[in-house]
């Protein structure tokens, strides 16, 4: 709605008198001000004509379509967001220790980081795994590692998020098998697997198979969990990595929701009906430095997704239309120089996520640009969330920034831009063709390149890098992963291979191979069988690699 005439007049009068007077003596610092995403910001925002109808259509009430103001009516008045710190490194034993530490410190959910060989379906003794074992996350080769990872952790009382994509089905079945051994039924299990292969092709790079068989695995997970693991979030459709790859805020939302559309379509094509699985789709976003733009971004995302689910896919269940999301503060915004500054950055970003209505949150640690975090740093990151939750007062009301003239204007503008991208992607035939053509990657790269150049030119300030620099000693006592871990894992693997029943393993792998050849077989039960017999992750992926092939990178430079 436009500005009321009277306000327009007043604004003009204000600009021509006192603004002009002040500017002639004290010009503004820059000719133009922009958001973190390089979009223009006005000097002042004013109320637009208010209409109840428009309010209800665009904002409404929390817990009600279009969910702009939040997916629950009471939000943090009911319960703060889940504090879920991403963790994992080295061996299952070491990671298990870190998980128990975090739970003791008040963390309310687990988030597992796996190493690169695990994420790409290689065992620790594979030549491809050289140098990589246990470095960016925990090494999991067999069910045995998984058992150790969750030793003494009550899987029926906590929820676990696993950042795993291409082999997500395998890690999920391992989790199920561990729970089985603890006497916990599948129906009690709560958690999430990231399971978002499209963003791997776009921004993260830990894909294995080509798009079509990957989508099949994903829809197999949807179908299996709908029946067997009803409380499980089957996918975490991610924008975090897209933003980290250098996109701006509207692109982060647009490409994530476009991926979401693709997954919904795939599930429908596989014969599922929308309200059966859509309620268990979840999302994962980034939180960067421009506080208000980020809040607007989250609100716009909720509104757009609700509309997509209702109008495009005819969902009727409210849960199917609710965009529930996890947030991680932006790793790429943190600096190696003056790492304590990062604590401040993370606090602002966490605030953005909370004001944006996130369901769960990971806050980065101060030395993120240097190494995996030490215990004290992770604890401080957790405390940041706790201070926000219990001291800042922003949790006392729902969607506090609503009605801010600026935030609403930003929310509306981001929505327009997101729709433009979504329409363009539809015109290209959907997300898969757009990715294979390199359209998405190219869009991201342009912004990434410009941003970096702006930093080098000093146009975009990064404190400690291009302004307020200082001489400093690099921090000591950074966490290091013992390189001996590869040998440790290799030995463990040999042990497992010796004590398992080889013929049962081979049989389960053959059954899996047969199943993989047929499009209409759900692979989850077959994978679960193999996993129970202590088939290794590498062995299972080898079978799938044979049957599905491997994806080759689409380079766009």
């Amino acid at each position: 709605m436009p500005l009321p005439e009277e306000l327009k007049k007043q604004k003009k009068e204000w600009e021509e008198t006192i603004v002009r007077k002040v500017i002639s003596r004290y010009p503004e610092r820059k000719p133009e001000f922009v958001t973190g995403s390089d979009k223009p910001v006005e000097r002042l925002y004013l109320p637009e004509s208010f209409s109840v109808e428009e309010y209800l259509e665009k904002q409404g009430f929390p817990g009600r379509y279009p969910y702009t103001r939040g997916v629950q009516p009471t939000m943090y008045r009911g319960r703060p967001w889940t504090m879920r710190q991403y963790a994992g490194f080295g061996t299952a034993e070491e990671s298990n220790q870190r998980y128990r530490f975090l739970l003791e410190q008040g963390q309310t959910g687990l988030s597992v980081a796996f190493d690169l060989p695990t994420q790409i379906g290689y065992d620790s003794d594979d030549p491809q795994a050289e140098g990589e074992v246990g470095k960016v996350g925990v090494a999991v080769d067999t069910l045995r590692d998984m058992e150790v990872l969750f030793d003494d952790i009550p899987l029926d009382k906590i929820s676990t998020s696993m950042t795993i994509n291409a082999p997500a089905a395998i890690l999920l079945t391992m989790y199920i098998a561990v729970a089985e051994k603890k006497g916990i039924g599948k129906d009690k299990l709560r958690g999430t697997i990231q399971n978002d292969i499209l963003k791997e092709y776009i921004a993260r790079g830990t894909y294995i198979f080509p798009p079509a068989p990957s989508m099949r695995l994903i829809t197999d997970v949807f179908a299996y969990c709908t029946r067997e693991v009803p409380q499980w979030n089957t996918i975490s459709i991610s924008g975090y990595h897209i933003r980290e790859a250098g996109s701006d805020a509207p692109q982060e939302v647009a490409f994530t929701l476009a991926n979401g559309i693709e997954y919904v379509r795939a599930a429908l094509k596989a014969g599922l009906s929308v309200d059966d699985f859509a309620g268990r789709l979840s999302f994962f976003f980034n939180a960067h430095n421009d506080l208000l733009e980020e809040v607007a971004k989250f609100r716009a995302a909720r509104r757009i997704w609700a509309r997509i689910m209702k109008e495009r896919f005819n969902a009727t269940e409210p849960k199917s239309m609710m965009l529930r999301f996890h947030t991680q503060t932006g790793g790429s915004t943190l600096t190696a120089q003056q790492p304590d500054n990062n604590i401040v950055r993370v606090a602002i970003q966490a605030l953005a996520a909370v004001l944006g209505g996130t369901q769960s949150l990971h806050t980065n640690s101060r030395e993120e640009a240097l190494a995996l975090p030490a215990e004290e740093s992770v604890r401080l990151a957790l405390r940041t969330q706790q201070v926000l939750a219990y001291e800042s007062g922003v949790t006392s009301t729902v969607d506090p920034l609503a009605g801010s003239y600026y935030v609403e204007a930003l929310t509306d503008r981001i929505e327009v831009e997101v729709w433009q991208y979504i329409d363009r992607i539809e015109a290209l035939g959907g997300m898969v063709p757009s990715i294979l053509k390199g359209y998405v990657q190219k869009e991201i790269q342009e912004v990434a390149f410009r941003t970096q150049k702006d930093i080098e030119k000093g146009k975009r300030v990064v404190v400690g890098i291009n302004k307020f620099q200082m001489e400093e000693k690099r921090p000591a006592n950074l966490l290091r992963v013992d390189p001996a871990i590869r040998q440790v894992q290799t030995d463990k693997l040999s042990q497992v291979k010796r004590s398992r029943n080889s013929s049962r393993v081979q049989n389960s792998l053959s059954a899996l191979r047969q199943g993989a050849k047929q499009d209409d077989v759900n692979l989850l039960p077959l994978i679960l069988e193999a996993v129970r017999e202590y088939a290794t992750l590498g062995e299972i992926c080898r079978v799938l690699r044979d049957e599905f092939g491997e994806h080759k990178e689409t380079i766009v430079l």
Partner: protein, 132 residues
């Protein structure tokens, strides 16, 4: 006559898929007049070295953020030597703890450019090493 160009291979060894930095540097160096051969993610040290030799590059720039640098960077240096190409200079970038740099240099990595490095700093180094 076209002038002699400096050729540099930008490669990502190991399994790390974060290529934002590598892609940026490739493009930035192109804009500074370099010929950049970019081979994408998941390159084995063997493939990197064969590529470097076939392309007769002056430099190999390795980008790695997964912590596997102590194993993979020296491997590339060694393979270059084994193949009679030790005159090709290896530089590294990414997430590399400062305390690892002396050892990497000892093993033959000419320079390591950590987070916050500017294009200018890298170009300065390359110009210096090329003897310009």
């Amino acid at each position: 006559m076209p002038s002699k160009k400096t050729r540099i291979l930008i490669a990502k060894p190991g399994l790390d898929g974060h290529d934002r930095g590598a892609k940026f540097i490739a493009r930035a160096l192109r804009d500074e007049g370099y010929e950049v051969i970019y081979t994408g993610i998941r390159q084995s040290p063997e493939a990197i070295v064969q590529t470097a030799i076939q392309e007769d590059v002056d430099f190999v720039g390795l980008s790695l953020l997964s912590g596997a640098h102590n194993e993979l960077f020296p491997r590339v240096v060694d393979l270059l030597k084994e193949n009679g190409a030790e005159d090709i200079k290896v530089i590294g970038g990414g997430i590399i703890p400062e305390e690892d740099i002396p050892l990497l240099k000892e093993k033959g990595v000419q320079a390591v450019f950590g987070p916050g490095t500017s294009t200018e700093q890298i170009v300065e180094f390359l110009e210096h090493e090329s003897g310009r």
